[in-house]
Assembly symmetry: C2
């Protein structure tokens, strides 16, 4: 089969590799029918040292089950399924508490002998706990929105949920990428009335407005912080959803957050150390939370919202390539010519 | 009057200064009847550069109002009152949201022209919002416990409250100082069943057990982390209450916290930058919160608990000095000969 590998910054290749096979009785093999490139894939696309071994890429997919291991229950060949971007058993103590990305038997696609989703097929560990079926006769036009439940929309939802976005709370979203826009949509769903989107790409912030943003702040740094403070009566934002992952976004977050407020991060931090002391978080009783979204905890509630048309998060996709052209998908997103690119194997 | 000033590390002096007077119509002048030394006073006691100007010390007190400004309502001369360690108007948007330590008209004792509480008298700004009356005929023996509502017990309570300590949640308290022990008592009050106290001073951890600790871990660093993990079935603690403020305590906190758990800090951080990235907080969806306790938000509910004998947080006091001997109070706490010292003007 064909699968995507990254060999270093900017070096994405399609290669012919053996089909995956059942290795554990809890595995399933899924034929991928729809996948995409994630904003987080761009981090290695910028910084991965060149090497001779390719890293399997991709972690968002919808597909059809081809085969299941002997211990897989509730699912079988022919089922159309969505996979969260991390696999999990859905039964361990951390899963039961809603933090599936910390599952004791879970893990990540593209690592430790598990392939990536930008491929024709993929082996899914812990299949019974991981894969969520969708109706086989689902309308084709809904598939992009269903694919966002694999990661991007529910990552935005995780930010809004952990940030306690809701009625009476001002929400500021940092980042107009697909996760940031998803966070806007999720905050709107949760009842937030004032949603300030910090971003400077008009086509993206226009989609943000359609998703529910009431204000757009294009300025960055100190100027951006001052604009948000002015929009909040000088008080700051109750909730800040940080969907970038770079230090300037973190600094903006604690610049605009209100005393007693929450900074909820879903942009994968490209730093380990950051200000958290009296001058940044502690003095104002700021809560910092977020992390890799436990999509599995939210996906069953979100599927009917997509099927009924209540939400259409698939609007974040504005381009499409074939699997053979996946390198072009990366290029389009990296150059910001596209917001998020569908890839069809 | 006599008042306490710090001139540098280890240099605490009693000096004769003019009595405070009403400066703003919202001020009150209080004659201090009971005060104490705070663990946070020991930070400058260790590190303040020597200088020619003394810093007024002390921020916890019970006293009798002597005089009020023309705008003070609901309080008057002769009232016995407790003051939170920070003053606040109790009406601004941040106060209304329960974060009085961020009050728009609030501030700290011992700074910006406001004196300290380790003195015969003190000027209290925003007196109507700040001071809370207690019955004039309160039993003398209850006064130490009431004094803890000025800071130490309600700081421990703030940690437990922000950490969401409660039934079904394992709580680890880092630090066996008076705030840590108060956090144990507060977690117990909130219904936590398993409370692990990390501390190595037996007389203190014994009091911790009386306050509700179910386990005591004397080890520190990696060894201490491993002990706590063993006590929690290898899973870690849902809630960690960090009552120290030094980096090793922060490192212990993220070492013992469970995925999806909370680190609630009330020890004043002696660092500005700390690990918060994928390897420490983000990867496990850890929540970091806490800050200067908005004691004013909790004090009215706590007073009846002390008056009825439901809680006796004043057990943290194990020594007493006169105001003239306040330097000895600092020495006793710094040398760990005393846990917390009452000072009687």
């Amino acid at each position: 089969m064909r699968a995507t590998f990254m060999y270093g910054a900017g070096d994405v290749r399609i290669e012919e590799v053996p089909d995956p096979t059942i290795e554990q009785p809890t595995d399933a093999i899924v034929r991928v029918t729809l996948t995409c490139v994630c904003g987080s894939d761009l981090h290695p696309y910028h910084s991965m040292p060149a090497g001779n071994t390719g890293t399997p890429m991709g972690h968002e997919f919808i597909g059809v089950i081809e085969e299941v291991g002997s211990a897989v229950t509730g699912l079988g060949p022919g089922d159309l399924v969505i996979s969260p971007f991390a696999f999990s058993d859905n039964t361990c103590p951390f899963c039961r508490e809603g933090f599936h990305t910390a599952c004791r038997h879970g893990g990540w696609y593209g690592a430790n002998g598990v392939g990536g989703a930008q491929a024709e097929k993929i082996r899914v560990p812990q299949a019974s706990g991981t894969l969520v079926p969708i109706p086989a006769d689902v309308e084709e036009k809904l598939l992009p929105s269903l694919l966002t439940l694999s990661d991007v929309y529910l990552t935005g939802y995780h930010a809004a949920h952990m940030g306690n976005a809701g009625p009476g709370r001002t929400v500021t979203v940092i980042g107009d990428g697909a996760v940031g826009l998803s966070a806007v949509l999720a905050a709107k769903r949760l009842g937030a009335e004032k949603i300030i989107l910090m971003g400077r790409h008009a086509t993206r912030t226009d989609l943000g407005r359609r998703f529910g943003a009431t204000d757009v702040v294009a300025e960055r740094g100190e100027e951006g912080v001052n604009r948000v403070r002015a929009l909040t009566g000088g008080e700051g934002s109750h909730v800040v959803l940080e969907a970038v992952g770079h230090m300037p976004a973190y600094e903006q977050a604690y610049g605009v957050v209100r005393p007693g407020g929450v900074i909820s991060r879903v942009g994968v931090p490209q730093y380990e150390n950051a200000p958290v002391g009296f001058g940044s978080l502690f003095g104002k009783n700021i809560t910092l939370n977020g992390g890799p979204a436990p999509v599995r905890a939210y996906i069953e509630a979100a599927i009917p919202q997509v099927l009924s048309g209540e939400i259409a998060p698939g609007q974040v996709f504005d381009a499409e390539t074939s699997l053979d052209d996946v390198a072009e998908a990366y290029r389009l997103m990296d150059s910001r010519e596209a917001l998020k690119v569908l890839v069809r194997p």
